[in-house]
Symmetry: C2
Subunit: 126 residues, 2 copies
């Protein structure tokens, strides 16, 4: 089990039915991402963002645990959100926070386990 520190949980969440105003507000969204990371006890090491014209936003947080990203389409009430954390169960806490503040009416969510070493995969399937 020595390789288990590569293992991470990657949540891919598609939020629908969010407010245009929220999904187009650069500062608000970056604050939400930072708060989501903080609430989930993640450490932010860097950030990058871009406001598209006439609408839309992308925000990326580089975490010591991996990353959080958001891509918004305000005109469709849609946001594509990723929370990828290595070696911890903090992922869902960050997603739950973003659900609370962005209030999507519908969420398509998938959790992908990353970084599972072949030796562990083999023992799991044995």
């Amino acid at each position: 089990m020595q390789d288990f520190d590569t293992v991470g949980a990657h949540v891919l969440a598609d939020f629908w039915g969010c407010q245009f105003e929220k999904l187009d507000d650069e500062q608000l969204l970056m604050d939400y991402l930072r708060q989501a990371a903080k609430n989930a006890q993640m450490t932010v090491l860097g950030e990058e963002s871009y406001k598209f014209s006439p609408q839309g936003f992308t925000g990326l947080l580089l975490l010591s645990e991996s990353h959080i990203s958001i891509h918004t389409y305000p005109e469709h009430g849609y946001a594509a959100i990723d929370v990828f954390t290595c070696g911890g169960g903090k992922t869902q806490k960050a997603i739950d926070f973003l659900k609370e503040v962005l209030q999507p009416s519908r969420v398509n969510q998938m959790v992908v386990r990353r970084g599972i070493p072949e030796s562990v995969e083999t023992s799991l399937s044995a």
Copy 2:
């Protein structure tokens, strides 16, 4: 089909068996990410990176098409790579380039379709 511009392809690729030296080389990895984006005709709008101590690296490219990320564990020959692009089929080209330069001996890859509106989901499953 008016909502189709939200639709994107998100490739999650776990690379194993890569060289320690490559996975721990900040400049090389950022160059690879930029080249992967360029080869796939993506537009880089921003970037963020972090070199961990004693080893390991995270690089993020913010694209007009969404994002590319890499998280490396040189000590395990492991890299977790994401290429997420909205509204285009460029994703695989970027992943293929990274395979070529990082030469993993094993790849676990998954493609997730993001941003499919409910109306389209319904018509597809009907």
